[in-house]
Subunit: 551 residues, 2 copies
């Protein structure tokens, strides 16, 4: 039976972004109980780290997770960031696609979904409003405001249920938010591991976490250096599309096309403008609004043919190989470790990125599965741990493509090794909304391979030396056991005194060589990470709670 | 240096859905040149199949892909579906989060992003508008309208540049749309393979495809049966959350809570209402709008404790094992094939789904890599081929977890085998916006395993019999070669005539047994798929084009 066209369109609907994600929460990364909670931690922590970094503050983050019932938790999160001005509170927490991070800047979050996604999940699973506390500077004044809000899904806005002001002597923001259908886990994909990796990637952050059993972990910062503020960098001509140029032309108030190009893109000088004008015949004094698609395309094609200085990389702030080594040494206590921070490269012609890689071998490196340590890959993007979707990630692809046997690792999966990779970029090409994997752009995959192979060669040398030292020692052991017997027996037979033979022995057993090898194998003394763990004081529970209660 | 809070929020912006996806096109599946084009084919084809199915029409789809330059194509797509009423055209093609598929119905698409996503990609890469042609029934009248439209990214709406009416004697819709930065490929993830798999999963569809070289492929339908129209099924009480109940209460115009529950959920009878009232103490005659979260939660908890009939599965329309076998036989010409359509099951307590699985072995099954056929997994959801993100998919996970050696496959990766899995549900839990992988819900993974192992046992029997037959034949060959010589020589020695020994021979060589085995191994005659391939008629190019030009 055929149906009428108009019948089929009776049900036509338009959804708001909130309604859309209410129906498709897996697109925000909320699928599975453990993963959902980890994503909540991820959104709140990255927001705090970004806010502190932009404001030039050493981050101090406290998180408390209280179990209220089966799969039911109350999460209290607070930071010492710049806070949120009152008029933006509902936009940040209750409106999807709203945010301050849409610039061309290296930041952890950038998609305007994080906080409002958490509020949506809370509301969908508990029906409860959330409590938000913000302390912020308004001119010279410090203001404090506490709000109880809900998200109006049908309108994609916030509803303020309650509001009060309070006095404060510092800045920061905090949230109290309930969830059901989530679960706390110590597994690799759980919330605890997420915090541990965050600390490795952000040695300047201090995180205090109280878990549902009441145990309090204090991860002290390993450095007091505030990471330099990443700068907004102008897009490089090799990275823009005709669509970008049209978009710029529509949004600008510049009067001349050439000024728009010089001011909106990097590395475009007056000389370059002249070159473009001559090659394309386009009048560079035209009004930007009159630029056609064809003209924009001609300019982009001309960009492709021209030579420009490499994209500026002042906007990229890597962790640095020393900090990475410090981070992995303190947490993994490996017998060998090394790290590298590479020079900036560009993908898609003009988006610059930096790859950092580290290897930890032996000690507590790798994952402990049963009694055996297996390989562990720690992926980071702009210092944020990537926990899920490793299968499709550029980092996984690059590491799997390396022939590890060439570096002394016969079977990567079963080696006691942690490989750390961090990609730094103003524009990490994430594969999905959950920002859990990096698109395998050829330049990125190649650069990860190069970085890893470079440090893997050091590992190979270490493993080779270790093996050789072991062989030498075994050989020496045989001489040490036999030579004295032979000498003594010979002396006995010859009826002579046993001669001094230490130097002969040292020579035969290659003592100097072994000492040298051992010296080369020696690692600097590592001071273990100061993770203070406090067991719950059952009788003084309110006292312990005080650290987290803000008022 | 600390920065002021207000500085940090100067850049605060609100984006429309179109602006958001313009910045994050990878979330629509558009990443990589080959993948981008395949996703475009996917969106347009699934839209046509859904529209035809809803209207009870046997789908007839034509696609022509013309190469205009390097990585630059013009795509013409047309179907014989119900068309789109004029007032909905810009909503369907130029507005994100708008659509008619947000119901609880088994359909291929359901997220209101598909067509507008393609238009966005076209506009971003070419700056060109798209041409849309719709022929639809308005009452008793057939109307035809052609529009040239652009997408206003900042407003998330359409702009009509040109519009004309034309006369028509049928329904259908079509689009002409240009893309750059995409590429056509014959690889497993390319557009051609996407069409081939669509035909396997939709034997009722006829697809004519003209590729960029001018070669025209005609995939005739294997069956003239219109698949039954999937029905909208009411959600099952075991599958709803408190949030769903609150959402229903807010959207209804029913006067009493009990009527809302009985009319909006399946399997909720007056007797069940009484049971709920007694257990929870909630007045079931209350106005829905006055229901609190606590009450909604109490009702859901009560649902959990109660017994209900299994969810209705009348809304689920599987392909059917015969049709699957037909599909894989015609295309893969295997030496052995089998398929199964399982009974409905439920995940997350109340969302019903059906798993269908098929195996093809030998012949053209598997992927040809170099000279060797390797295993191939064909994943489908509601008959739609899933081409990407296989790593995280429930289907991959389930198949990899099977111990294939138990089924006569020593090394799955290197066997000449195609495994087909289709999941049918009103609510497939996709993992990402691109709808390319299914969340590994435990019930779904288990059911895929069960279905596949069931048919794998048949494969094992086939492989075992084939091997045994081969052994028997080798044994028989030895007797057939030797016995006549021995008998003849014996007769010569004994100076007697050579006796009749055929029946002895048959017995010794187990002739009957071998015949029986061969019979069991015999496959039904397969008529290969009618894929008509026409090479381009270079001199008569306009003539070939005529099939695609609609006016």
């Amino acid at each position: 039976m055929e149906r009428d066209t108009s019948d089929l369109f009776k049900e036509f609907k338009e959804l708001t972004a909130s309604e859309f994600f209410r129906r498709n929460k897996q697109m925000l990364g909320f699928s599975g109980k453990i993963r959902s909670l980890t994503i909540v931690f991820h959104e709140l922590i990255t927001n705090s780290l970004d806010a502190c970094e932009e404001a030039g503050i050493l981050p101090d983050i406290t998180i408390e997770l209280k179990r209220l019932g089966k799969d039911h938790y109350l999460l209290k999160h607070a930071d010492n960031g710049p806070g949120i001005p009152e008029e933006f509170i509902t936009k940040v927490y209750c409106q999807m696609f709203a945010g301050s991070k849409f610039r061309n800047i290296q930041s952890r979050g950038q998609q305007g979904l994080g906080c409002s996604g958490c509020v949506l999940l809370s509301q969908m699973t508990t029906g409860q409003p959330v409590k938000i506390r913000s302390r912020y500077k308004d001119g010279d004044e410090l203001k404090g405001v506490e709000m109880t809000v809900k998200l109006d899904v049908k309108k994609n806005t916030g509803i303020i249920l309650d509001r009060k002001e309070f006095e404060t002597d510092r800045t920061g923001s905090g949230i109290e938010i309930e969830f059901k259908d989530v679960s706390y886990s110590m597994s690799e994909q759980g919330a605890y591991e997420y915090i541990r990796r965050t600390v490795i990637g952000n040695p300047h952050a201090r995180i205090v976490f109280k878990d549902p059993s009441g145990r309090k972990y204090t991860f002290e910062r390993a450095t007091n250096e505030i990471p330099p503020l990443p700068k907004e960098v102008l897009p490089h001509p090799k990275g823009v599309t005709a669509d970008d140029i049209i978009y710029l032309c529509k949004s600008t108030n510049k009067k001349r096309f050439k000024n728009l190009l010089m001011d909106s893109l990097s590395r475009v000088s007056a000389a370059k403008i002249k070159e473009i004008e001559e090659a394309t015949g386009i009048d560079m004094n035209k009004r930007p609004k009159s630029i056609t698609w064809k003209e924009a395309e001609a300019v982009v094609n001309q960009f492709d043919k021209m030579k420009f200085m490499a994209p500026p990389t002042s906007g990229l702030k890597p962790i640095g190989n020393e900090q990475i080594e410090k981070g992995i040494n303190e947490i993994l206590l490996p017998e060998f470790s090394t790290a590298i921070t590479r020079k900036p490269q560009a993908y898609r012609g003009g988006v610059s990125f930096i790859i950092e890689a580290g290897i930890a071998y032996g000690g507590k490196a790798g994952r402990l599965i049963g009694n055996q340590r297996k390989a562990e890959i720690m992926r980071f993007a702009n210092r944020v741990p990537l926990t899920f979707d490793q299968g499709s990630c550029a980092i996984t692809e690059a590491l799997k493509s390396i022939d590890w046997r060439r570096y002394g690792i016969r079977d990567l999966d079963n080696a006691p090794i942690t490989v750390f990779v961090n990609i730094i970029s103003t524009n990490v090409p994430y594969l999905s909304t959950g920002k859990q994997s990096v698109a395998p752009e050829p330049e990125i995959v190649r650069e990860i391979r190069q970085a890893t192979m470079k440090i893997a060669r050091k590992l190979e040398k270490y493993i080779r030396t270790k093996k050789a030292a072991k062989n030498e020692e075994m050989r020496a052991k045989i001489f040490e056991d036999l030579v004295p017997v032979v000498i003594k027996q010979s002396a006995l037979l010859a009826e002579k005194d046993v001669p001094e033979y230490d130097h002969v022995m040292d020579e035969v057993t290659h003592k100097a060589k072994i000492m040298d090898m051992k010296n080369r194998l020696k690692q600097p003394e590592i001071e273990p990470m100061k993770i203070k763990t406090e067991e719950p004081k059952m009788r003084l529970k309110t006292e312990v709670d005080e650290d987290f209660d803000e008022e």
